[in-house]
Protein backbone atom coordinates (compact mmCIF):
# COMPACT_ATOMS: atom_id res chain seq x y z
CA UNK A 1 0.00 0.00 0.00
CA UNK A 2 1.33 3.37 -0.99
CA UNK A 3 1.82 5.82 1.86
CA UNK A 4 -0.18 9.04 1.46
CA UNK A 5 2.02 12.13 1.50
CA UNK A 6 0.37 15.38 2.56
CA UNK A 7 1.62 18.89 2.13
CA UNK A 8 1.04 21.17 5.10
CA UNK A 9 2.41 24.73 4.74
CA UNK A 10 6.19 24.35 4.54
CA UNK A 11 6.22 20.69 5.52
CA UNK A 12 5.32 17.37 4.01
CA UNK A 13 3.81 14.69 6.18
CA UNK A 14 3.97 10.98 5.38
CA UNK A 15 1.31 9.26 7.43
CA UNK A 16 1.79 5.51 7.42
CA UNK A 17 -1.59 3.73 7.53
CA UNK A 18 -0.70 0.05 7.71
CA UNK A 19 2.23 -2.32 7.96
CA UNK A 20 4.62 -1.73 5.06
CA UNK A 21 6.47 -4.17 2.85
CA UNK A 22 10.06 -3.49 1.84
CA UNK A 23 8.90 -2.22 -1.58
CA UNK A 24 6.44 0.15 0.09
CA UNK A 25 9.27 1.55 2.20
CA UNK A 26 11.48 2.15 -0.81
CA UNK A 27 8.54 3.73 -2.61
CA UNK A 28 7.99 6.00 0.41
CA UNK A 29 11.64 6.98 0.34
CA UNK A 30 11.53 7.89 -3.37
CA UNK A 31 8.22 9.76 -3.02
CA UNK A 32 9.45 11.81 -0.09
CA UNK A 33 12.73 12.78 -1.67
CA UNK A 34 10.87 13.93 -4.77
CA UNK A 35 8.08 15.73 -2.95
CA UNK A 36 10.46 17.74 -0.82
CA UNK A 37 11.81 19.28 -3.99
CA UNK A 38 8.44 19.71 -5.63
CA UNK A 39 6.86 21.52 -2.68
CA UNK A 40 10.06 23.31 -1.67
CA UNK A 41 9.47 21.97 1.82
CA UNK A 42 11.65 22.77 4.81
CA UNK A 43 10.68 19.79 6.90
CA UNK A 44 9.43 16.23 6.63
CA UNK A 45 7.48 14.28 9.21
CA UNK A 46 7.12 10.50 9.01
CA UNK A 47 4.36 9.26 11.28
CA UNK A 48 4.91 5.63 12.31
CA UNK A 49 2.22 5.47 15.03
CA UNK A 50 0.47 2.45 13.52
CA UNK A 51 3.60 0.34 13.16
CA UNK A 52 3.86 -2.24 15.93
CA UNK A 53 6.97 -3.82 14.45
CA UNK A 54 10.08 -2.15 13.11
CA UNK A 55 12.65 -4.43 11.53
CA UNK A 56 16.20 -3.51 10.63
CA UNK A 57 15.27 -2.78 7.03
CA UNK A 58 12.59 -0.33 8.06
CA UNK A 59 14.96 1.42 10.45
CA UNK A 60 17.70 1.55 7.85
CA UNK A 61 15.29 2.99 5.30
CA UNK A 62 14.06 5.63 7.74
CA UNK A 63 17.65 6.63 8.36
CA UNK A 64 18.32 6.74 4.65
CA UNK A 65 15.26 8.94 4.20
CA UNK A 66 16.48 11.33 6.90
CA UNK A 67 19.94 11.56 5.35
CA UNK A 68 18.62 12.07 1.82
CA UNK A 69 16.16 14.72 2.98
CA UNK A 70 19.00 16.52 4.73
CA UNK A 71 20.94 16.54 1.46
CA UNK A 72 17.85 18.03 -0.17
CA UNK A 73 17.98 20.84 2.36
CA UNK A 74 15.18 19.89 4.71
CA UNK A 75 14.83 18.29 8.11
CA UNK A 76 13.19 15.00 9.01
CA UNK A 77 11.37 14.04 12.18
CA UNK A 78 10.15 10.51 12.88
CA UNK A 79 7.10 10.63 15.13
CA UNK A 80 4.89 8.17 16.99
CA UNK A 81 7.26 5.33 17.84
CA UNK A 82 5.34 3.17 20.32
CA UNK A 83 6.88 2.25 23.69
CA UNK A 84 7.07 -1.47 22.82
CA UNK A 85 8.60 -0.69 19.45
CA UNK A 86 11.13 1.68 21.00
CA UNK A 87 12.15 -0.96 23.50
CA UNK A 88 12.45 -3.68 20.88
CA UNK A 89 14.46 -1.41 18.58
CA UNK A 90 16.93 -0.54 21.29
CA UNK A 91 17.35 -4.18 22.22
CA UNK A 92 18.16 -4.95 18.61
CA UNK A 93 20.63 -2.06 18.56
CA UNK A 94 18.54 -0.05 16.08
CA UNK A 95 18.72 3.36 17.74
CA UNK A 96 18.28 5.79 14.83
CA UNK A 97 21.13 7.77 16.30
CA UNK A 98 21.38 10.80 14.04
CA UNK A 99 17.67 11.11 13.30
CA UNK A 100 15.34 13.42 15.18
CA UNK A 101 12.37 11.74 16.82
CA UNK A 102 9.30 13.15 18.54
CA UNK A 103 6.40 11.79 20.52
CA UNK A 104 3.64 12.44 18.00
CA UNK A 105 2.65 14.57 15.01
CA UNK A 106 1.93 17.60 17.15
CA UNK A 107 5.34 17.41 18.81
CA UNK A 108 7.02 16.89 15.46
CA UNK A 109 5.37 20.00 14.02
CA UNK A 110 6.26 21.98 17.14
CA UNK A 111 9.87 20.89 16.77
CA UNK A 112 10.02 21.89 13.11
CA UNK A 113 8.36 25.24 13.80
CA UNK A 114 10.89 25.84 16.50
CA UNK A 115 13.72 24.94 14.13
CA UNK A 116 12.37 27.18 11.41
CA UNK A 117 12.10 30.06 13.85
CA UNK A 118 15.83 29.64 14.30
CA UNK A 119 15.58 29.58 18.05
CA UNK A 120 17.48 27.34 20.42
CA UNK A 121 15.60 24.11 20.66
CA UNK A 122 14.92 21.08 22.75
CA UNK A 123 16.19 18.17 20.79
Amino acid sequence: MRVPILKQSQYVIASIQSALSDEDLLQLRDDLVQNVGRYRSRGVIVDVTVLDVMDSFAVRTLRAIAHMIRLRGAETVIVGIQPEVAFAMVQLGLTLEDVTTALDLEEGLAYLNHQMAGAAHVK
Binding site: A86, F87, T95, T101, L103, V122, K123
Partner: protein
Protein backbone atom coordinates in the same frame (compact mmCIF):
# COMPACT_ATOMS: atom_id res chain seq x y z
CA UNK B 1 -12.28 -61.27 54.59
CA UNK B 2 -8.51 -61.43 54.80
CA UNK B 3 -8.33 -63.91 51.95
CA UNK B 4 -10.34 -61.66 49.71
CA UNK B 5 -7.93 -58.77 49.91
CA UNK B 6 -4.65 -60.63 50.07
CA UNK B 7 -2.31 -58.93 47.60
CA UNK B 8 -1.16 -62.17 45.97
CA UNK B 9 -4.67 -63.46 45.43
CA UNK B 10 -5.85 -63.84 41.85
CA UNK B 11 -9.07 -62.03 42.56
CA UNK B 12 -10.31 -59.41 40.20
CA UNK B 13 -9.96 -55.86 41.43
CA UNK B 14 -13.60 -55.55 42.40
CA UNK B 15 -13.67 -57.63 45.57
CA UNK B 16 -10.30 -56.21 46.46
CA UNK B 17 -11.62 -52.68 46.24
CA UNK B 18 -14.58 -53.72 48.34
CA UNK B 19 -12.16 -55.24 50.81
CA UNK B 20 -10.16 -52.04 50.98
CA UNK B 21 -13.30 -50.03 51.57
CA UNK B 22 -14.38 -52.38 54.33
CA UNK B 23 -10.96 -52.15 55.93
CA UNK B 24 -11.00 -48.37 55.74
CA UNK B 25 -14.39 -48.37 57.42
CA UNK B 26 -13.00 -50.50 60.20
CA UNK B 27 -10.01 -48.19 60.40
CA UNK B 28 -12.21 -45.12 60.66
CA UNK B 29 -14.22 -46.71 63.44
CA UNK B 30 -11.02 -47.50 65.27
CA UNK B 31 -9.72 -43.93 64.89
CA UNK B 32 -13.05 -42.47 66.03
CA UNK B 33 -13.09 -44.68 69.09
CA UNK B 34 -9.57 -43.77 70.16
CA UNK B 35 -9.87 -40.14 69.12
CA UNK B 36 -9.01 -38.57 72.46
CA UNK B 37 -6.07 -40.77 73.23
CA UNK B 38 -4.50 -40.63 69.74
CA UNK B 39 -4.99 -36.91 69.51
CA UNK B 40 -3.23 -36.37 72.80
CA UNK B 41 -0.45 -38.71 71.80
CA UNK B 42 -0.01 -36.73 68.58
CA UNK B 43 -0.02 -33.32 70.30
CA UNK B 44 2.55 -34.66 72.78
CA UNK B 45 4.81 -35.87 69.98
CA UNK B 46 4.52 -32.49 68.24
CA UNK B 47 5.66 -30.66 71.36
CA UNK B 48 8.37 -33.24 71.94
CA UNK B 49 9.76 -32.78 68.43
CA UNK B 50 9.82 -29.01 69.01
CA UNK B 51 7.57 -28.38 66.05
CA UNK B 52 5.20 -25.43 65.80
CA UNK B 53 7.16 -23.55 68.45
CA UNK B 54 5.45 -20.35 67.35
CA UNK B 55 2.15 -21.64 68.71
CA UNK B 56 0.92 -22.25 72.25
CA UNK B 57 0.08 -25.71 73.58
CA UNK B 58 -3.64 -24.99 73.49
CA UNK B 59 -3.49 -23.77 69.92
CA UNK B 60 -1.58 -26.83 68.85
CA UNK B 61 -4.17 -29.02 70.52
CA UNK B 62 -7.06 -27.18 68.88
CA UNK B 63 -5.46 -27.40 65.43
CA UNK B 64 -4.51 -31.01 66.06
CA UNK B 65 -8.15 -31.80 66.76
CA UNK B 66 -9.32 -30.18 63.53
CA UNK B 67 -6.61 -31.87 61.49
CA UNK B 68 -7.36 -35.20 63.11
CA UNK B 69 -11.08 -34.98 62.34
CA UNK B 70 -10.38 -33.90 58.78
CA UNK B 71 -7.91 -36.72 58.47
CA UNK B 72 -10.42 -39.32 59.57
CA UNK B 73 -12.98 -37.83 57.25
CA UNK B 74 -10.66 -38.16 54.27
CA UNK B 75 -10.04 -41.80 55.17
CA UNK B 76 -13.79 -42.30 55.34
CA UNK B 77 -14.94 -40.48 52.23
CA UNK B 78 -11.78 -40.61 50.12
CA UNK B 79 -12.39 -36.98 49.12
CA UNK B 80 -9.63 -34.52 49.99
CA UNK B 81 -11.54 -31.36 49.10
CA UNK B 82 -12.57 -30.46 52.62
CA UNK B 83 -9.04 -31.14 53.85
CA UNK B 84 -7.60 -29.02 51.05
CA UNK B 85 -9.80 -26.12 52.05
CA UNK B 86 -8.85 -26.59 55.68
CA UNK B 87 -5.14 -26.81 54.83
CA UNK B 88 -5.36 -23.58 52.89
CA UNK B 89 -7.20 -21.89 55.72
CA UNK B 90 -4.71 -23.22 58.27
CA UNK B 91 -1.77 -22.07 56.14
CA UNK B 92 -3.27 -18.62 55.84
CA UNK B 93 -3.43 -18.39 59.62
CA UNK B 94 -0.05 -19.86 60.50
CA UNK B 95 2.21 -18.52 57.74
CA UNK B 96 2.18 -14.96 59.12
CA UNK B 97 3.31 -16.44 62.45
CA UNK B 98 6.45 -17.84 60.87
CA UNK B 99 5.57 -21.52 60.69
CA UNK B 100 7.96 -23.27 58.31
CA UNK B 101 7.28 -25.86 55.64
CA UNK B 102 9.24 -28.57 57.47
CA UNK B 103 7.07 -28.07 60.55
CA UNK B 104 3.82 -28.53 58.71
CA UNK B 105 5.14 -31.56 56.86
CA UNK B 106 6.60 -32.83 60.13
CA UNK B 107 3.33 -32.74 62.03
CA UNK B 108 1.38 -34.47 59.28
CA UNK B 109 4.00 -37.20 59.07
CA UNK B 110 3.91 -37.50 62.86
CA UNK B 111 0.16 -38.03 62.75
CA UNK B 112 0.64 -40.67 60.11
CA UNK B 113 3.17 -42.43 62.31
CA UNK B 114 1.06 -42.16 65.46
CA UNK B 115 -1.90 -43.70 63.69
CA UNK B 116 0.24 -46.39 62.08
CA UNK B 117 1.62 -47.30 65.50
CA UNK B 118 -1.86 -47.66 66.92
CA UNK B 119 -2.74 -49.93 64.00
CA UNK B 120 0.34 -52.06 64.69
CA UNK B 121 -0.78 -52.39 68.27
CA UNK B 122 -4.31 -53.31 67.40
CA UNK B 123 -3.54 -55.86 64.72
CA UNK B 124 -0.25 -57.23 65.97
CA UNK B 125 -1.77 -60.66 66.52
CA UNK B 126 -2.75 -61.12 62.90
CA UNK B 127 0.11 -60.28 60.59
CA UNK B 128 -1.82 -60.82 57.36
CA UNK B 129 -4.63 -58.57 58.49
CA UNK B 130 -2.14 -55.94 59.61
CA UNK B 131 -0.60 -56.00 56.17
CA UNK B 132 -3.97 -55.61 54.54
CA UNK B 133 -4.90 -52.74 56.83
CA UNK B 134 -1.62 -50.98 56.10
CA UNK B 135 -2.17 -51.52 52.36
CA UNK B 136 -5.42 -49.67 52.70
CA UNK B 137 -4.12 -47.06 55.12
CA UNK B 138 -0.79 -46.06 53.61
CA UNK B 139 -1.90 -44.69 50.21
CA UNK B 140 -4.66 -42.71 51.87
CA UNK B 141 -2.30 -41.38 54.54
CA UNK B 142 0.34 -40.42 52.01
CA UNK B 143 -2.26 -38.68 49.93
CA UNK B 144 -3.32 -36.67 52.95
CA UNK B 145 0.26 -35.71 53.82
CA UNK B 146 0.76 -34.70 50.23
CA UNK B 147 -2.40 -32.61 50.15
CA UNK B 148 -1.55 -30.71 53.30
CA UNK B 149 2.06 -30.07 52.28
CA UNK B 150 1.12 -28.96 48.79
CA UNK B 151 -1.63 -26.76 50.18
CA UNK B 152 0.83 -25.11 52.53
CA UNK B 153 3.48 -24.56 49.88
CA UNK B 154 0.93 -23.21 47.41
CA UNK B 155 -0.37 -20.76 49.97
CA UNK B 156 3.17 -19.63 50.70
CA UNK B 157 3.90 -19.18 47.04
CA UNK B 158 0.70 -17.25 46.59
CA UNK B 159 1.72 -14.89 49.38
CA UNK B 160 5.20 -14.50 47.94
CA UNK B 161 3.81 -13.73 44.51
CA UNK B 162 1.43 -11.19 45.97
CA UNK B 163 4.23 -9.47 47.86
CA UNK B 164 6.52 -9.48 44.85
CA UNK B 165 3.78 -7.85 42.85
CA UNK B 166 3.32 -5.22 45.55
CA UNK B 167 7.03 -4.50 45.77
CA UNK B 168 7.28 -4.27 42.02
CA UNK B 169 4.47 -1.77 41.78
CA UNK B 170 5.79 0.28 44.64
CA UNK B 171 9.31 0.29 43.33
CA UNK B 172 8.82 2.06 40.03
CA UNK B 173 6.90 5.30 40.32
CA UNK B 174 7.02 7.62 37.33
CA UNK B 175 6.15 11.09 38.57
CA UNK B 176 5.30 14.26 36.74
CA UNK B 177 6.94 17.32 38.29
CA UNK B 178 6.01 19.88 35.69
CA UNK B 179 4.23 19.88 32.40
CA UNK B 180 6.32 17.61 30.09
CA UNK B 181 8.84 16.80 32.82
CA UNK B 182 8.91 13.40 34.53
CA UNK B 183 11.11 12.10 37.28
CA UNK B 184 11.87 8.45 37.89
CA UNK B 185 13.50 7.95 41.28
CA UNK B 186 15.06 4.48 41.48
CA UNK B 187 15.71 3.08 44.93
CA UNK B 188 17.36 -0.23 45.73
CA UNK B 189 19.13 -2.86 43.73
CA UNK B 190 18.17 -3.16 40.08
CA UNK B 191 18.00 -6.69 38.72
CA UNK B 192 17.47 -7.35 35.02
CA UNK B 193 13.79 -8.04 35.55
CA UNK B 194 13.25 -4.78 37.39
CA UNK B 195 15.36 -2.87 34.90
CA UNK B 196 13.15 -4.06 32.11
CA UNK B 197 10.05 -3.13 34.00
CA UNK B 198 11.43 0.32 34.76
CA UNK B 199 12.01 0.92 31.09
CA UNK B 200 8.56 -0.22 30.12
CA UNK B 201 6.92 1.89 32.77
CA UNK B 202 9.00 4.91 31.81
CA UNK B 203 8.16 4.59 28.11
CA UNK B 204 4.48 4.27 28.91
CA UNK B 205 4.77 7.26 31.23
CA UNK B 206 6.40 9.31 28.49
CA UNK B 207 3.51 8.64 26.17
CA UNK B 208 0.81 9.12 28.80
CA UNK B 209 2.22 12.42 30.09
CA UNK B 210 3.59 13.61 26.75
CA UNK B 211 6.92 14.10 28.46
CA UNK B 212 9.80 15.85 26.79
CA UNK B 213 12.42 15.50 29.49
CA UNK B 214 12.87 12.69 31.99
CA UNK B 215 15.12 12.87 35.04
CA UNK B 216 16.20 9.41 36.17
CA UNK B 217 17.54 9.67 39.69
CA UNK B 218 19.66 6.76 40.83
CA UNK B 219 20.88 8.19 44.13
CA UNK B 220 19.27 5.25 45.89
CA UNK B 221 20.96 2.58 43.79
CA UNK B 222 23.94 1.07 45.64
CA UNK B 223 25.63 -0.57 42.67
CA UNK B 224 25.13 -1.62 39.08
CA UNK B 225 26.56 -4.41 36.97
CA UNK B 226 27.23 -4.55 33.25
CA UNK B 227 23.75 -5.79 32.38
CA UNK B 228 22.01 -3.07 34.31
CA UNK B 229 24.34 -0.36 33.02
CA UNK B 230 23.59 -1.50 29.52
CA UNK B 231 19.92 -1.41 30.29
CA UNK B 232 20.25 2.15 31.50
CA UNK B 233 21.79 3.13 28.18
CA UNK B 234 19.01 1.27 26.37
CA UNK B 235 16.42 3.15 28.40
CA UNK B 236 18.01 6.43 27.39
CA UNK B 237 17.99 5.39 23.73
CA UNK B 238 14.41 4.12 23.81
CA UNK B 239 13.21 7.33 25.47
CA UNK B 240 14.94 9.34 22.79
CA UNK B 241 13.10 7.35 20.13
CA UNK B 242 9.90 8.47 21.82
CA UNK B 243 11.08 12.03 21.58
CA UNK B 244 12.13 12.53 25.20
CA UNK B 245 15.47 13.60 26.61
CA UNK B 246 16.84 11.67 29.55
CA UNK B 247 18.96 13.19 32.29
CA UNK B 248 20.58 10.77 34.72
CA UNK B 249 21.28 12.15 38.18
CA UNK B 250 22.79 10.89 41.40
CA UNK B 251 25.46 8.65 39.90
CA UNK B 252 27.53 7.70 42.94
CA UNK B 253 31.29 7.61 42.65
CA UNK B 254 31.21 3.80 42.84
CA UNK B 255 28.74 3.56 40.00
CA UNK B 256 30.69 6.09 37.96
CA UNK B 257 33.82 3.99 38.43
CA UNK B 258 31.96 0.81 37.51
CA UNK B 259 30.55 2.38 34.37
CA UNK B 260 33.97 3.55 33.25
CA UNK B 261 35.59 0.22 34.10
CA UNK B 262 32.94 -1.73 32.22
CA UNK B 263 33.37 0.64 29.31
CA UNK B 264 29.75 1.71 28.90
CA UNK B 265 29.29 4.24 26.14
CA UNK B 266 28.59 7.35 28.19
CA UNK B 267 28.51 9.77 25.30
CA UNK B 268 24.77 9.39 25.03
CA UNK B 269 24.08 9.78 28.73
CA UNK B 270 23.36 13.26 29.94
CA UNK B 271 24.50 13.04 33.58
CA UNK B 272 24.01 15.72 36.21
CA UNK B 273 25.30 15.54 39.77
CA UNK B 274 22.18 15.54 41.87
CA UNK B 275 18.42 15.56 41.48
CA UNK B 276 18.20 19.31 42.01
CA UNK B 277 20.73 19.95 39.28
CA UNK B 278 18.91 17.50 37.04
CA UNK B 279 15.60 19.25 37.47
CA UNK B 280 17.24 22.63 36.84
CA UNK B 281 18.82 21.28 33.68
CA UNK B 282 15.47 19.86 32.60
CA UNK B 283 13.78 23.20 33.20
CA UNK B 284 16.43 24.89 31.13
CA UNK B 285 15.81 22.43 28.29
CA UNK B 286 12.06 23.00 28.52
CA UNK B 287 12.51 26.75 28.62
CA UNK B 288 11.24 27.27 32.15
CA UNK B 289 12.78 29.96 34.30
CA UNK B 290 12.31 29.83 38.02
CA UNK B 291 12.40 33.19 39.75
CA UNK B 292 11.83 34.26 43.30
CA UNK B 293 8.91 36.69 43.32
CA UNK B 294 9.47 40.21 44.59
CA UNK B 295 8.36 40.22 48.23
CA UNK B 296 5.10 42.07 48.72
CA UNK B 297 5.24 45.03 51.07
CA UNK B 298 3.01 43.25 53.59
CA UNK B 299 5.41 40.27 53.73
CA UNK B 300 8.41 42.52 54.18
CA UNK B 301 6.88 43.94 57.31
CA UNK B 302 6.24 40.51 58.78
Amino acid sequence: MTTAIRPHGNDSSRPRADGTAALLRELVAHLRKNRTQLREEWARRITESKLLTAMTREEIFAEATSVYDNYVEVLETGSVEALQAYARNLSERIIPRGVETHEVLGIVLLLRDVLARSLFKKYQADFALLNAVLDAYEPAANRIANTVAVGFVQERERIIRQQQEAIRELSTPVLQVRDRLLILPIIGVIDPHRARQLTEQLLRGIRANRAKVVVVDITGVPSVDATVANHLVQTVDASRLMGANVIVTGLSSEIAQTLVTIGVDLSKINAVGDLQGGIEEAERLLGYTVTTPEPKPSEVKA
